[in-house]
């Protein structure tokens, strides 16, 4: 028997509520808000309370998909990243950096979002940076 509570941060928004992901024998069984987390002090919103549910959702994308001949196909990370890099280079060369836009996410950390905008501005050279919460 392997019962665990893994301390982590809610992925749903930028507040950073602390919670325990409860698991039994490798399967997530629930979410418990962390009382000693300074941000949320043992409380959560309805999204946080259900954060364990999407991890094991059958609908979740777990592998990169690439559209080939109008059909999405599973490909390796290497192939997906090579494709993205070559297309970004191509678009930038053909139409300029402002032909590219970057959408950051509420579901990642502050630091990851920082990295994203840095990449947009410094590597590609565009200020076209927006966020999924404004969609």
């Amino acid at each position: 028997m392997d019962y665990r509570n893994t301390l982590t941060t809610c992925t749903y928004c930028g507040c950073g509520c602390n919670l325990f992901l409860e698991s039994l024998d490798g399967r997530l069984t629930g979410t418990i808000p962390c009382k000693t987390g300074p941000v949320n002090e043992g409380k959560l919103c309805i999204k946080g309370w259900n954060v364990h549910q999407f991890v094991q959702s059958g609908k979740r994308l777990t592998k990169p998909l690439l559209r080939k001949n109008r059909k999405l196909e599973e490909v390796s990370w290497d192939e997906a990243l090579d494709f993205i890099a070559s297309r970004l280079k191509h678009i930038k060369a053909a139409d300029g950096p402002d032909a590219v836009g970057f959408f950051a996410s509420a579901k990642v950390t502050n630091e990851e979002n920082y990295l994203m905008q840095k990449f947009a501005r410094a590597a590609i050279g565009t200020n076209n940076v927006d966020h999924c919460a404004r969609l």
Binding site: M1, Y3, R4, N5, L7, N18, F20, E22, L24, D25, T29, G30, T31, I32, P33, C34, K35, T36, G37, N40, G42, K43, L44, C45, I46, G48, W49
Partner: protein, 267 residues
């Protein structure tokens, strides 16, 4: 106190009378619900007192239900305060836990915590550690009961209107184990919309807790809107006591009057 409890758990684990003990531990600077299976891990044991007495209590009975559903043939120990023991008695009564498969490891709460909770029984029946302290008078409820009816009504409606419908009060509660919940029944509570239906949402829960709530206070602690939920459920529980002489979780074998058919008992 904690050393006596460690010894007790150690004994249970070493003679294999339990498969594990549901308790709390301190890890990474946080108190966490856990299951102890090895004696060596016991130096991490916590009783749920971080800054103040009992400020990091967690629903250990709920953890036990999760495990017992998966391992119905094994015996588990569980760390219990007075409230948790009332919870165990209630869960035995409602067939959610089998008393033959549970070894409670009880300890008494200090007076300071008993006062903060206004607890009617701040100790388990058979504590391993701590001194039994007295029942505390229910001041908070008297205060609200003392308001005239229209003031009291607006007091509660104001409180309920703060609700963000997080379902935390239900989710944290060890006595809320139903697979289908009335608070998700669309005939009572509208789905996918805010503000929450008041007072239906809160009164539905209060009605359902009337013979279940063991007054642990975890719901109120989990409520992001600081709604005095515990007082609300103390009230329904007081009605149960006045009408039927019943208080949830006090007597181990007692059946709930709400689950009996036939004429009302005499008292």
């Amino acid at each position: 106190m904690i050393d006596t409890i460690k010894q007790k758990i150690s004994g249970l684990l070493s003679d294999a009378s339990v498969k594990g003990v549901v308790a709390l531990k301190t890890a990474n600077g946080h108190v966490t619900p856990c299951v102890f299976q090895k004696e060596d891990d016991l130096d991490m044991l916590s009783l749920g007192d971080m800054q103040a007495s009992g400020d990091t209590r967690y629903p250990l009975n709920k953890v036990l239900i999760t495990i017992a559903r998966q391992y119905p043939d094994d015996v588990f120990g569980v760390l219990v305060r007075g409230c948790d023991e009332r919870g165990l008695y209630t869960l035995y009564r409602l067939n959610q836990l089998d008393p033959d498969k549970v070894v409670p490891i009880g300890f008494c709460c200090p007076e300071e915590l008993a006062k903060a909770c206004e607890c009617k029984k701040p100790y388990p029946d058979d504590p391993v550690a701590g001194e039994k302290t007295k029942e505390i008078f229910q001041n908070r409820m008297e205060e609200i009961e003392g308001m005239d009816i229209s003031k009291r009504f607006s007091f509660w409606m104001d409180q309920f209107s703060k609700c963000i419908k997080c379902y935390g009060c239900r989710n944290i509660c060890s006595m809320c184990f139903c697979r289908e919940c009335s608070l998700e029944c669309e005939d009572l509570v509208s789905k996918g919309s805010l503000p929450v239906d008041i007072p239906v949402f809160h009164l539905t829960r209060a009605m359902h807790m009337a013979d279940r709530c063991i007054d642990c206070g975890l719901c109120e602690e989990a409520c992001p809107s600081d709604i005095p939920l515990r007082v609300l459920y103390k009230k329904t529980s007081r009605i149960m006591n006045a009408e039927f002489g019943f208080t949830s979780g006090i007597e181990k074998q007692e059946k709930s009057p709400l689950s009996m058919l036939g004429p009302a008992p005499d008292n």
